[in-house]
């Protein structure tokens, strides 16, 4: 097979620095990182290979790679790196870059390259949302009523709004996911999976989504638990809001059926966010040693959203309807940009990309195994033929 000639792009490494890549150029390719990585296997050898692609600026190859998604940043690679090349951080930055690549709108790219732009957009969207909610609230309800007939922001309307927003997100994420599939699998000449393989591996999607079990292979358990808490908290919250918003918003008594779950989810969220923030401030582990601006924005948003959500809930239970409504507006006006911007364009997209990557990786593994064995057979056949000819 005649290999395709690819032109190297020495500029890409500069580009990636904006996404948080650090000291990639220091890597002298000893291979230590790949060998210590608990996720690397015979089909996916990384992070060294990914570092190499990045050093050389082979954009297409990186685009086609799933490896960055298979990394959960336990940091063993960075700790053992003899040249301080921070492979873990490189993988992190590659995830950001890939997110921006999957995103057809270019918003993601804008956000990752400029935290100021991201902040401005977040604030503008939040303000717009706040304005919208206020106008909506005042136009049809009373600020003194939290629920009931004259509710300032009736849960039914918000429910509809939520579903509307969810539809937008689903469309965005679906398009991006399809792009991801196309870059890595569908349009990748090196991989030709069979339909059966796709179906066979499908169970991976929910499995990975709910358990994040790949992360658990990272040696230490604590980061995985934090991650899981954050993740499950968020997902439970999402489920509650999408399907049981009326229950959540009913009150002022505590409906343990919904609120019990909500408290747990909030606790998980709060726990996860606080651990993450403290860790990042202390730089206590390799994976939190370097924080990209987008990380701070994201964590900040999450923290405020969680806190305002709790505040709103508490105020509501306390009977301070107006305060609760105001808190609710603040909460919602932050939820909107967070969902609208962070989910498809920011870090929350991992929620979709990670399980998808795990699923596609499973597809790749099986396909590669098949391709390799047939290639080996092919070689054997050629060798036999040659032998026979001789």
């Amino acid at each position: 097979m005649v290999a395709n000639v690819t032109r190297v792009n020495p500029k890409l490494i500069h580009e990636l620095e904006k996404y948080g890549a650090q000291d990639v150029q220091n890597c002298y390719h000893c291979g230590n990182c790949s060998a210590v990585c608990p996720h690397a296997d015979e089909y996916f050898v990384f992070p060294r290979k990914s570092m190499r692609m990045l050093q050389m600026g082979l954009e297409k190859r990186i685009e086609a790679s799933l490896e960055p998604w298979l990394c959960y940043y336990c940091g063993q690679c960075s700790t053992g790196c003899p040249r301080g090349a921070e492979p873990g951080e490189t993988m992190m930055s590659l995830r950001r870059w890939l997110t921006s690549r999957y995103d057809f709108t270019g918003i993601s790219r804008l956000f990752y390259r400029s935290w100021k732009a991201e902040a401005v957009v977040l604030v503008v969207v939040a303000l717009l949302a706040a304005l919208g909610f206020l106008i909506f609230g005042f136009s049809q309800g009373s600020i003194h009523h939290y629920d009931g007939e004259q509710a300032f922001l009736p849960s039914a309307s918000i429910h509809i709004f939520d579903w509307g927003m969810a539809a937008v997100l689903v469309v965005l994420l679906l398009i991006n996911s399809i792009r991801m599939w196309w870059f890595t699998t569908g349009g990748n000449p090196r991989i030709r999976p069979k339909l059966g393989t796709y179906l066979k591996a499908l169970y991976q999607l929910p499995l990975q989504f709910f358990t994040q079990k790949e992360y658990a292979r990272c040696g230490e358990r604590q980061p995985w638990l934090v991650h899981l808490a954050l993740m499950l908290g968020y997902v439970s919250m999402l489920v509650l809001i999408m399907f049981f918003l009326h229950g959540m918003q009913a009150g002022p008594e505590i409906r343990w059926r919904f609120h019990g779950v909500g408290y747990l989810a909030s606790a998980g969220l709060l726990f996860g966010v606080l651990v993450a923030v403290i860790g990042r401030i202390r730089k206590s582990a390799p994976h939190v040693a370097h924080s990209h601006e987008s990380d701070w924005l994201f964590l900040g948003m999450l923290l405020i959203v969680t806190v305002t959500g709790i505040v709103q809930h508490v105020l509501h239970r306390a009977g301070a309807a107006m305060a609760a409504n105001l808190a609710y507006v603040v909460h919602l006006s932050l939820v909107v940009p967070m969902l609208l911007l962070e989910v498809p364009f920011g870090k929350w997209s991992h929620m979709v990309y990670r399980p998808l990557a795990c699923y596609l990786a499973a597809v790749h593994r099986e396909t590669l195994a098949r391709q390799r064995s047939s290639a080996a057979q092919g070689e054997q056949v050629t060798a036999d033929r040659r032998l026979a000819a001789a």
Partner: protein, 574 residues
């Protein structure tokens, strides 16, 4: 020859020998041998009273031969020779039988060991009869040194010798001193000024009255031997026919350096055809002129450096040129320094950053975002002109090993790290000073490990890159090492020659010249006029290769004559 009167001294070595070997039986056996006047055994022959026994016996019994049966001669031959000298006989009229290391310590059968000890002692007695008194010779050591080559190695050696108040004749072929170093701007890995380094040496050479610098001159003949060479040097003049002068020198330092590999030999690098493909030395010129630009005066956006041009290659030179990796890294820094917007690719095989500070330099080069790309040994990158749509002049195609990808590297300027090779005139120099070259044309040291500056011809030393590729500190160290060797010899004024050497009996030499080629030290000279070979004692190391090979038996290896060894063979079998 007077009749041998032999004294035999058998050592018990405490009980080291006597616990296995019946030393008394050995003594009695020796006593019974013809010509043996006295045979004694003693507890420790090497001790002071033991040695005194020997001295006394020599004087009392008018001994003219001494045999000591004790330990290995490698341990105490010198001691007992000293005792013989004290006793008043020539130390070479002595022979040792090794009945400890090679008898009592390796055997357990008392009877067999005793018999063996008797044999060994008998053999020594047989042999010592044929011993002759030998005296050391000495020859004059001319304190002047000839240094060939005015590069950093030659300059260092010359200065080192001249600073110790010795005369030096420094011969340089070209019209200026400095050698290849004069073509370099900064040195790797610390980017120090090569010019300052050289200016210092040149100033000191110029101001040292002990150094005679002969520019545009070359050695055309060298005769004589260590301490007493006569060098014929041809000075400048039309068509290699300048005036010749003869200089008497005691030692020669060959520091003739290297030449660079001709990059044009690798056609797909396009050196000489593609305007912006330059060699490392051409790039140095650009650096010095402050013009790191393409031929048409643009600043290169992409620069590429290709390592191992002519080195580490089946087709050209198999060896590593040792200096290019660090020089290449230096260029990467210099390119970035002159033009921070320039993207530098460094295309290498293995990064040889082995010296002090070099690995750190390599890392620093990575830190300034040099793109390192690895290619397979024996598989050259290919340079071609880029198409009109590209933002670069050239594209370099290579199989990149660290990624496994076949890639193209954009380049506006390509620097070829040309290897170092033996000078084309090295064979001529080797012939003139009588030293050998290895397969690659480098001059051969007498021992690659323990004598890296001496050659097999005594009095001829090699320094710097004429022996193999080397960086500046290693060249300087080697040049100084050569100087040290010479200083040590000069300081004694004369050279002492041990009595053990080979000698040609000119009455029996037929001039067949079989021996000439055999001497690794070129100690055998053939006299064309007399048609006889003769050995230069000062150069002879007494290995005996020529003695064994002389088909006419005309060469005697003193102290290891055929007669002596025959006697010893007969002795062990007696």
């Amino acid at each position: 020859m007077e009749k041998p009167r032999i004294g035999v001294f058998v050592c018990n070595c405490g009980t080291n020998i006597s616990h296995i070997v019946d030393t008394e039986a050995v003594r009695a056996h020796a006593q019974a041998q013809p010509d043996v006047v006295v045979a004694t055994s003693y507890r420790y022959m090497c001790s002071t009273p033991g040695q005194e026994t020997i001295v006394k016996a020599i004087q009392e019994h008018q001994l003219n031969r001494v045999v000591v049966a004790a330990c290995s001669p490698r341990m105490h031959e010198k001691t007992f020779r000293g005792a013989c000298r004290h006793g008043g006989i020539n130390p070479f009229l002595f022979e040792m039988a090794n009945i400890r290391e090679q008898c009592s310590w390796v055997h357990q059968d008392r009877l067999a060991a005793t018999e063996k000890a008797k044999s060994l002692t008998t053999a020594a007695i047989h042999r010592v009869r044929h011993h002759r008194p030998l005296n050391s010779l000495s020859a004059e050591m001319c304190p002047t040194t000839l240094v060939l080559g005015g590069g950093i190695a030659g300059l260092t050696a010359a200065l080192e010798l001249a600073d110790s108040s010795n005369d030096v004749v420094l011969v340089e072929r070209t019209d200026a001193l400095g050698g290849n170093l004069a073509r370099v701007d900064l040195t790797a890995p610390h980017l120090d000024s090569a010019r300052d380094l050289l200016t210092e040496k040149l100033t000191r050479i110029a101001s040292n009255p002990r150094v005679t610098v002969l520019l545009r001159s070359e050695l055309v003949a060298l005769s004589g031997f260590v301490g007493n060479f006569t060098a014929t040097i041809r000075g400048p003049g039309g068509n290699g026919a300048g005036p010749e002068r003869q200089v008497r020198v005691g030692n020669v330092v060959v520091a003739t350096g290297y030449q660079e590999f001709d990059a044009g030999r690798i056609t797909h690098y396009g050196h000489g055809k593609l305007p912006n493909v330059v060699t490392s030395f051409e790039f140095e010129q650009m650096l010095r002129a402050g013009r790191i630009e393409t031929r048409d005066g643009r600043l290169p956006q992409y620069a590429a450096i290709i390592h191992c041009v002519g080195s580490r290659n089946r087709e050209f030179h198999p060896y590593c040129s040792r200096v290019c990796c660090m020089t290449a890294l230096k260029y990467a820094h210099e390119l970035k320094s002159a033009n921070p917007a320039c993207y530098v690719s460094d295309i290498y095989i293995d990064m040889h950053a082995f010296g002090k500070g070099c690995e750190e330099f390599y890392k620093a080069t990575s830190e300034v975002k040099t793109l390192f790309l690895m290619f397979e040994k024996n598989e050259h990158p290919v340079i071609r002109r880029a198409g009109p749509g590209e933002d670069c002049d050239m594209l370099i195609e290579v199989n990149e090993r660290l990624s496994g990808e076949r890639i193209e590297i954009p380049a506006d300027l390509v620097i070829l790290m040309v290897g170092v090779e033996a000078r084309s005139d090295a064979a001529e120099v080797a012939r003139l000073v009588n030293i050998s070259q290895d397969r690659e044309g480098w001059f051969m040291e007498s021992h690659p490990k323990l004598d890296p500056v001496a050659t097999t011809t005594d009095g001829i030393y090699i320094a710097g890159t004429c022996a193999a590729p080397k960086d500046i500190p290693d060249s300087v160290a080697q040049a100084r090492a050569a100087a040290a060797r010479i200083l040590a010899r000069i300081s004694k004024g004369r050279i002492e020659i041990d009595g053990v050497f080979a000698e040609v009996d000119e009455d029996r030499c037929s001039g067949c010249r079989i021996c000439n080629e055999l001497c690794p030290y070129s100690a055998i000279e053939f006299d064309e006029g007399k048609r006889r070979s003769h050995v230069i004692p000062a150069a002879c190391k007494a290995c005996g290769a020529c003695v064994a090979a002389c088909p006419s038996g005309a060469i005697t290896g003193h102290h290891f004559t055929a007669e002596q060894i025959h006697a010893q063979i007969d002795g062990v079998l007696a």
